[in-house]
C-alpha cells in the first residue's frame, strides 16, 4: 500500500515536472532555535521568512516557482544542527537558511560543503542571514555559503565611524559574550578605535558567558568605577536587555552602542530607560527617510502581533527569486553561480552579493532609541511607545571591508 502511494506520488511529481516549472514549490529549510532561551528570536525570524515568502508568492517574484519555508529546531547547538541538516537532506530540501550563532554557522557551512562534494547532483545552498563572524567570508569562506547580513567587522567600521564624530566620548568599555562572535566584536572595536580615535581610552574589557548572567549590576559598578562614558557591546537577547536595565538602575550615564538592541525582548526591557542612550548599527530601520518597508512591517505586525526586523529575509528571498528567474531553474548549482555578484533592490537599497567571498554589500544605518514623534519616528517597537530614529546612513562603500577569501568554485 505504502509503496503504491509512493509510486503514485512519484508519478504525480514527474507529471508536474513535465508540465514545466509553473507549479513548482521550492522548500527552504529554516534551521534555528525554536525552543529554549532564544526561541522567541527564532520564532520571530521563522515568521519573517514565511511572511516574505508569502509576499513573493503572491507577487510571483520568481516567475513561477513558489517558496515554502519549513522550520527545524536546532536548539542553538552546532551538534544538533548537523543532525537537522541530515533530516533536511532526507526530505529532499535543497536550500537552507540559518542565522543565530556563528558557532552554528561555521559548523553548517563546513557540513554543507562536505555534503555537496560527496553528493553531486544533490547540492545544497546555504543562506546565512545573521551569523556575523568575519571568518565565514574570509579564512573559512566557501562557495555554498552566502551571507545576507553585514559581518561584524563591517558593522564595527560603521559604528566607530559614527562614534568617532562625538568628541565627548573619551572612555569606552567593551562588554561582550565569551564566544567567537563576542571576541570578534571586542577585537574589532579596539582595532578600529585605535585607528579612528587614538585618544579614546579603553577603560575596561569584559567577556562573560553567553546567556547565563542574571544580574549585571556588578559589571555596571565596574563600568562606573572605570569612569565609562560609552559602552560598546555585541550582546543580544537577555544579555543585552538585562545589561541596560542594570545600567539604568545604578544610574550609569553612558551611551550604549550595540548591534542587536532591536531584536525580540530588548525593546521591552529597555522601555524608557534606554531613551537617547541606546543605539544600534544594522542594515535597516523601519523609520528610514521614506519609511521603505513599513508596509511589510505593518503586515507582519498584523499577522503575527510581533515586530519585523530581520530584513535579510527580504534580501534573501529577493536574491533567490531573481536567480530562479535568470537561470529559469531552481537547481542549487545553477542558482549558486547566478547568485555570485548579483544585485537586488532590498528594503535598504541596493544589495550586492560580492562574488569574491559571498558577502552581501549594503548600506548600514545607526539608529537611536527615542520616543515616537509621528514624524521621523512613526513606528515603535514591542508597543513601548519608543522607536528607532535613523541618525546616520552609511553608504555601501564606507561599510565595505576587504576579504582574504580565496573562493574555490566547483567545476
Amino acid at each position: 500500500m505504502n509503496r503504491l502511494i509512493r509510486a503514485a506520488a512519484l508519478g504525480a511529481a514527474t507529471t508536474l515536472l513535465a508540465f514545466g516549472a509553473q507549479a513548482q514549490t521550492v522548500k527552504i529549510g529554516f534551521i534555528d532555535p525554536l525552543s529554549g532561551l532564544m526561541a522567541p528570536v527564532g520564532q520571530n525570524q521563522l515568521h519573517s521568512w514565511q511572511y516574505i515568502a508569502e509576499i513573493a508568492n503572491q507577487k510571483n517574484w520568481a516567475g513561477g516557482p513558489k517558496f515554502e519555508i519549513v522550520g527545524f529546531d536546532n536548539k542553538l547547538s552546532p551538534q544538533e544542527s548537523l543532525t537537522v541538516l541530515k533530516q533536511v537532506v532526507d526530505q529532499g530540501i535543497r536550500y537552507i537558511v540559518q542565522g543565530n550563532g556563528s558557532s552554528v554557522a561555521l559548523a553548517l557551512a563546513d557540513a554543507v560543503a562536505k555534503h555537496n562534494e560527496r553528493n553531486p547532483g544533490k547540492e545544497i545552498v546555504y543562506l546565512n542571514y545573521a551569523a556575523v563572524d568575519p571568518d565565514l567570508t574570509n579564512s573559512k569562506c566557501n562557495f555554498w555559503h552566502f551571507r545576507l547580513d553585514a559581518n561584524s567587522d563591517m558593522k564595527m567600521e560603521a559604528l566607530t565611524t559614527f562614534l568617532a564624530k562625538d568628541k565627548n566620548i573619551k572612555n569606552v568599555y567593551l562588554l561582550n559574550q565569551n564566544y567567537s562572535f563576542g571576541q570578534a566584536v571586542a577585537k574589532a572595536a579596539k582595532d578600529y578605535l585605535a585607528k579612528k580615535r587614538p585618544d579614546i581610552k579603553i577603560v575596561g574589557e569584559d567577556l562573560h558567558p553567553l546567556a547565563q548572567i542574571k544580574d549585571f549590576a556588578p559589571y555596571v559598578s565596574k563600568m562606573k568605577a572605570a569612569g565609562t562614558d560609552t559602552v560598546i557591546t555585541g550582546n543580544w537577547g537577555s544579555d543585552l536587555a538585562l545589561l541596560i536595565k542594570a545600567a539604568k538602575d545604578a544610574g550609569l550615564n553612558a551611551n550604549f552602542y550595540t548591534y542587536y538592541a532591536a531584536t525580540t525582548g530588548v525593546p521591552t526591557a529597555m522601555g524608557a530607560a534606554g531613551e537617547d542612550k541606546v543605539r544600534f548599527v544594522g542594515y535597516w530601520n523601519v523609520n528610514n527617510e521614506k519609511f521603505v518597508g513599513a508596509d511589510v512591517a505593518m503586515g507582519y505586525q498584523k499577522k503575527f502581533n510581533d515586530d519585523y526586523y530581520t530584513m535579510a529575509t527580504y534580501t534573501g528571498i529577493a536574491l533567490l527569486a531573481k536567480a530562479f528567474k535568470e537561470t529559469k531553474s531552481t537547481d542549487p548549482v545553477k542558482v549558486a553561480h547566478a547568485l555570485e555578484g548579483m544585485k537586488v533592490e532590498s528594503l535598504n537599497g541596493e544589495v550586492e552579493m560580492r562574488k569574491s567571498d559571498h558577502q552581501a554589500l549594503q548600506p548600514l544605518v545607526v539608529a537611536k532609541w527615542v520616543k515616537v514623534d509621528g514624524k521621523t519616528v512613526k513606528y515603535d517597537q514591542e508597543k513601548t511607545g519608543y522607536g528607532w530614529k535613523t541618525e546616520a546612513l552609511l553608504p555601501t562603500y564606507l561599510a565595505t571591508q576587504p576579504t582574504s577569501c580565496q573562493m574555490q568554485r566547483p567545476k
Binding site: 562573560h208 556588578p218 559598578s221
Partner: protein
Amino acid sequence: MEFFVISLLNGVSYGLLLFMLSSGLTLIFSMMGVLNFAHAAFYMVGAYVAYSVGLKIGFFPALFVAPVVVGLLGAAVERYGLRTVHRWGHVAELLFTFGLAYLIEETVKVIWGLAAVPYRVPAALDGHLFTLYSTSFPKLRGFMMLVALLMLLSVWLLLKRTRIGLVIQAALTHPHMAEALGHNVPRVFMLVFGGGCALAGLAGVIGGVAFITEPSMAASVGPIVFVVAVVGGMGSLAGAFLASLLIGVMQTFAIALDWSLAGMLGAIGISVNEATPLYSLWKLQISQVAPVLPYLLLVLMLIFRPKGLLGTRAD
C-alpha cells in the same frame, strides 16, 4: 571605596534574592526529603501570575495573590501527584518533579507565549532609594532585600514559635507518632509542599520584575538554586541563608577582579605570552570565570564537606 560599598550592596541584595528562591527548596527537602526539580518552574509561574494579576489589581496586591496561587498549585500537585508517587520512593518523586518542570514550562509557553512579557516595575518602586557617592541604589533592590528578610523572619517564627510549626516538625521527623496522636500527616506534607512553592512564587514576583519574565527564566535559575541548597547544607534554612549571601557577594566581587594566572606569573617574573602553550587558560581572568565559581564551590563542598555549611546530616 565607593566601588567596594556598592559591590557589597549588590552582592547582598542578589544573595537575598537567591535565598528567597532556594529557601522553599530547602524547606521541602528538609521536611519531606523531596528534591523538587520543578522548584524554579514555580518561581516562573509566580512571576507570570503576578504579571497577569498585576495588570488588573496592581503590583502590591499581586505580591500577595501570586504566592497564594502558586502555593495552591503546589498543594494540588502534592495532593494529586506527589502523594501517589511517594510510595514508589524518592527516585520516583525526583523523576516526577523533573517531568513536572517541563510540563509547567510548556504550559507557560502556551498561555503567555514565547516572548518576554512587559512586566514593569511599579511606579512606587521605580527610582532611587539613596545615592551613595555617585552611584544610585534602586528602590527595587532595597525592596527585594526587605521582602527576603521579612520572609526569613516569618518562616522562622512559623516553624519555631507556633503550634502548627511544632506539628509540622513532629510530623516530619516522626510521622507515625504524629499520626497516632491524631494529626493528619498527609495534610501536613501538602501544607509544606504548598508553602515551599508559595515561597518560590514570592521570589518570582520580585525576580520577574527585577529581571525578565520569559519562558526560560526557570531554566536559567534552576541550577544555582541547587548550589545554594547544597552549599548551605541540605535542609538547613540558616545554611541556605548564609550560602546565598556568600554566593551573591563572591560572584559580585569576582567580576571586579581582573586577575589572571598570566598576570600573577608576570608579577613574579615569568613571562607568559601568546606563544605559551595553553595561553587561553593562563590569561583567563577571574572576572571571566565568575559565573562558574558557584559551581566550583558546589563541587568542592561535596568533596570536602558533603553536609554543607550548616547541614546536620551527612548521608
